[in-house]
Every structure is written in structure tokens, then in C-alpha cells.
Amino acid sequence: MAKYLLRRLIQLVVVAFIISVLVFLLVHLLPGDPAAQILGANDTAHNRAVLNKQLGLNLPLWHQYIFWLKGVLHGNLGQSYLNHTPVTQVISTGWPIDLELIIISQVIAFAVAIPLALITSRRPNRPVDNISTTATFGMLALPPFVIAPIMVAVFAVGLHWFPATGYIPFTQNPATNLHDMILPSLAITAGSIAVYYRLFRSDLISTLQEDFVTMARSKGLSPRWIMWRHAFRPSSFSLLAAAGVNIGALIAGTFIVEFLFAIPGLGYSLVQAVNQRDYLVVQGITLVVAVAYVVIQFLIDFLFTVVDPRVTRE
């Protein structure tokens, strides 16, 4: 167990290192003098000198990287050249919003997908099953930028159930915050429901055909007990893996809904920064999101060791 996690931890560090190198090199994708590009209209000789010093741009490349990495590890990602806010501050106000969106959507997705799969997998190809399977197949073709506008048109503009834009922090008014988050969360939930349902259903169906389920039946256990205590766990491995893979799609989804509903999360800040050529903000958010993504994958690997005893003991 410890050995397995250690190995994964080393992998995590290596990948994080490679990510940091690539993100660092982004600045050098800019044509011409990076400092001039980054400063844009605010360009003065003094500013440029400050930035060159801050980024260490006059040093050799690998030296620059060490310099930059040191800053990053000390929590210094540079500052926005528009309003001089530190990038870390942009990130620290943004990430809780993304997390909230992702958590709400995932809770809903699992709460819908798992019970539905438990019901339909017991009797495959009945009407309920056929309807769910067809509906989720359709939902696979509804990425957030397609379904969110439809939802806004129907529930915000048409029915006035929810505001079309706007954001009130959770700390300020939890009830309003949650109410306003419903529509954005639902918009990124559709894909997750479809993926989780389809995967869990087909895995349950194959698990229920396993010998050990027949064995459990031959012990006289009730169908419900067999479903929960014998079939559920062995069927959940791909579900867990899918949840990990799905984080990528969710990040894209939060960017879409933050942009659409003007919710000031990381995605909103990122898109604004790109449009305003605020390069250090783009670089900082990219680094943080990419590393967070890798860490989440690591956590999911850890969950695997909890769910499947074979992972670490074999």
C-alpha cells in the first residue's frame, strides 16, 4: 500500500515538474521580446527593467526557470499588468467557485446516475432501461456550450426561475448563492450523468452475470443485499476511473458557465486575461489548474486502493 502510493507520488512529482517546465516555456511562445509583449501599452523602460528583473529574462533559460520556480514555490506568480493584483490573489478568489460548481454537479450526477443504473441493470432492455439508455446517448451530444444556452433560454429568459447572470458569494448569502448556482451546475451535469450512467449500468450488467453473484444467490441472500454488498463495489471501478477522466470535461464546463453567467471563477478570469493579453495571469491560472488536475488524479488513484483491495496487494 505505502509502496504503491509512494510510486504514484513520485510519478505525481515528475508530472508536476514537467508541467511547470511547459508552463514556464509558454512565455517564450510569444513572438519578439516577451517583456515588451507582456507589458503591452504600459510599456516604459522602467517597467520593462522591473519585469526583466522579476522574470529574470536576461538570464540563461534554465537559470530563468529556477528563478521562476523559486518564486512559484514561494507563492509568487507575478502580478497582473492591468491592475497590479497579484496572480495568487486572482486564483485564491476564483478557485472556490470552480470547486463549488464541480461539487454540486458531481453530487447531482452521481445521485441521478447511480440509482438509475441500479434500477435498470436488474432488468435490462425493459422500457425504462431503453428510455434511459437512449436519453443518455443523446446527452452525450450535449456539451455545456450547447446545453447551457438552451437552459438559459428556457429557465431564465422564458420562465424567469433563475437569473440569467450574476453571482453572490456563498459567504454573503448562502441561499441566493446556491439558488443561482443551480442552473450553471446543471449545465455541466448532463454529460457526467450520461457517462456515469452508461458506464455503471453496463458494468453492473456484466457483474450480475458473474459467478460470484450466482454464488451469492445460492447462499440465499436477498437481491437487494446482493446488489449493494456484492455487485456494487466490483462494478464501480470504471465509474471511478471515469470520474477522474471526466474532471477535464468539467473544467471546460465551468469555464463555459462562468463565462456565460458572469461568475468570477478561474475560468472567467482566465478568459478575461486572455482577451486582455494579461499573460502572467494566464500563465499562473494554467499552472494551478494543471497541477490541481494531476493532484485530483492522484487522489482518485488513492480511492482505488480503498475500493479495490487487489490494487495494492497483488
Partner: protein, 319 residues
């Protein structure tokens, strides 16, 4: 829609992942293999027909492709021509799908917008398949140090959330049709590499390959004559599903205003245009047409991919 009548079909039918997930660069590991060794013609004849929906899906994809290719010769107004006499017009004889708030013809914008999605989708996957597929084919057959290195490399690249990487590169490098296509083409290389490699690996030790080897066939000959024909169905099926994934990523970028620059229409920025600044309450058609078209396009590609996978008897699994 997918009629999973038999349990064995449902088993594979449920594992549609890559097609939905825009972060498809993150699909961790796909184990892909085909059950039957080769496609012999008797088998093909004995299989059940594709069905009405499959041909309907092919029809829709074909129609979109055809319209996009012929956009310049079709009798359409310039997509950026502003007809001030018809602002926010509903569908009518002159503008079959209506006009937007600047009086631009929505049908024309829809058709020209399709070009972006399709070019980015198909060209980048073709590029990715050329590089990733070739590497995967060789890596899977040869094994050894090359395989270990490429495999590790693909894992690292897949550890990036695709959307963030693409946005960052677009931000620093610039946004044009060419650049977006290249970026997404590179982004799908590790994914297609893994798929083709897994498939190639599953054939590398089959009897007919070993037989060819003992008869003294060169590696190149084995890879291209024996393995490639068997890998092609897997590559086509997954390539198609990847096209859907890339179209989703491009649409996401375009929606955020980070794909091809305005005023060039693309489905993603058309949807954004039709959703923002109160456009929804004044003229819902701006958003509606690209939303419907995109939904049908993705649905059709998924459906075709799903049917092809059933037909080719491809089993895939995560992990």
C-alpha cells in the same frame, strides 16, 4: 437509440467515453482489441444491418460536409453582409433561417461556420492519426525501449487537462484556424497513439503475425501488411469519436471567444453571440440554429462511431 439488444453488445455499448469528454486527452488508458482476427466477407454479409438511424446520421454528416465545402458556390449572401432592412428577421423567403441583430443571414453564417468545426475536427484528427497512429503501430509491435519511452511520454501529455493547455497555447501563440488546428492535432496525438498502440499490441503475438515472422517477413512488411489492416477498424472508429471530441473543444474555445477571430462565424461563436447581451430575449434563432446543428452533428458522429464499433466488434475498457 443504440439498440443494445444483446447483453454482450451492451457491455461494450456503455463505454462511450472519449466521445463526450472534451478533455479527451485525459482518457487514461484504453485497452482496445478486436475479437475476431480478420474481417472475412462471409461474416460481413451475415451481420445485422446498420439500421435506419445509422444512415440518417451519415446523411446529416454528409449534408453538413457538403454544405461547408460548397459554401462559396451556393446561392448565399456573404455571411458578413449586413442587411439593414432586415434586422432580427424571423425565417422568411429571403432569409431561410432569419437574420441576426446586424441583419446578417443566419443560414449563410451557419454554413460558413460549419467549415471551422469540420476543418478543425477532421484535419487535426487526421494529423494526430498520422503521427500518433504511426508511432502507436510501430511501438505496439516492436515493444522495447522505444515503446516504454513513448508510452511514458503519452501518459505525461495526457496528464494535462486539454482545455487549459489549449487555451494557454492559444493565448500566447495566437488564434487562427491554422494554429487552432495544429494545437488540437498535437493534443490528440497521445490519445490516438495509445489507442492504436493497444490495438497493435493485441495483434503483435497472434498466430498469423508469428507465422509471417517465421516465414522471414520484414518488420515493415508485417506492420503494414499484417497488423495495419487489422488496426484500421479500431483507428477509424476511435478517430471518428475523437473528431467529435475535438469539435467539442473547438466549440468550447469559440464560445469563449478564443477560437477563430470574429467576425468569421463558427458554430461556437454563433451560439455565444445568440446567448449574450440579451440576444436570447430578442431573437432566439441566432442561438437555436447552431445549437441544433451542433447537437445533431455530435449525435450523428457518436452514433456512427457506436455502430462501427459494434460492427467491428471492438471491446474497449478503461484501465
Amino acid at each position: 437509440m443504440p439498440d443494445d439488444r444483446e447483453l454482450s453488445d451492451t457491455r461494450s455499448g456503455g463505454r462511450l467515453l472519449g466521445d463526450q469528454v472534451p478533455g479527451l486527452a485525459a482518457v487514461d488508458e484504453l485497452v482496445v482489441s478486436r475479437q475476431s482476427e480478420t474481417l472475412d466477407s462471409d461474416d460481413v454479409l451475415a451481420r445485422k444491418p446498420f439500421g435506419f438511424l445509422f444512415w440518417f446520421a451519415c446523411g446529416w454528416v454528409g449534408l453538413v460536409v457538403l454544405a461547408a465545402v460548397l459554401a462559396n458556390v451556393l446561392p448565399l449572401p456573404n455571411p458578413n453582409f449586413q442587411n439593414y432592412n432586415a434586422l432580427n428577421a424571423p425565417p422568411n423567403m429571403h432569409h431561410l433561417l432569419g437574420t441576426d441583430d446586424l441583419g446578417r443571414d443566419l443560414l449563410s453564417r451557419l454554413i460558413f461556420g460549419a467549415r471551422v468545426s469540420l476543418v478543425v475536427g477532421f484535419v487535426s484528427v487526421a494529423f494526430g492519426m498520422l503521427i500518433g497512429g504511426t508511432l502507436g503501430l510501430i511501438s505496439g509491435y516492436k515493444g522495447g525501449r522505444l515503446d516504454v519511452a513513448l508510452n511514458a511520454g503519452s501518459f505525461v501529455l495526457l496528464a494535462f487537462p486539454a482545455i487549459v493547455a489549449v487555451i494557454a497555447i492559444v493565448a500566447f501563440w495566437g488564434q487562427s484556424l491554422f494554429k487552432i488546428t495544429v494545437i488540437l492535432g498535437v493534443a490528440v496525438v497521445p490519445l490516438l497513439f495509445r489507442v492504436v498502440r493497444a490495438s497493435s499490441l493485441s495483434f503483435a503475438n497472434r498466430d498469423f503475425v508469428i507465422a509471417a515472422r517465421t516465414m522471414g517477413a520484414t518488420s515493415a512488411r508485417i506492420v503494414f501488411r499484417e497488423i495495419l489492416p487489422n488496426v484500421v477498424p479500431v483507428a477509424i472508429t476511435f478517430g471518428l469519436i475523437t473528431v467529435a471530441g475535438v469539435i467539442v473543444i473547438e466549440g468550447t474555445l469559440a464560445f469563449l471567444g478564443l477560437s477563430v477571430a470574429l467576425p468569421t462565424p463558427s458554430w461556437g461563436n454563433l451560439i455565444a453571440e445568440g446567448t449574450s447581451n440579451g440576444a436570447l430575449s430578442t431573437n432566439v434563432y441566432i442561438m437555436l440554429w447552431p445549437v441544433i446543428s451542433m447537437f445533431l452533428l455530435l449525435l450523428s458522429i457518436n452514433l456512427i462511431g457506436d455502430r462501427l464499433r459494434q460492427r467491428f466488434d471492438i471491446r474497449e475498457g478503461l484501465l
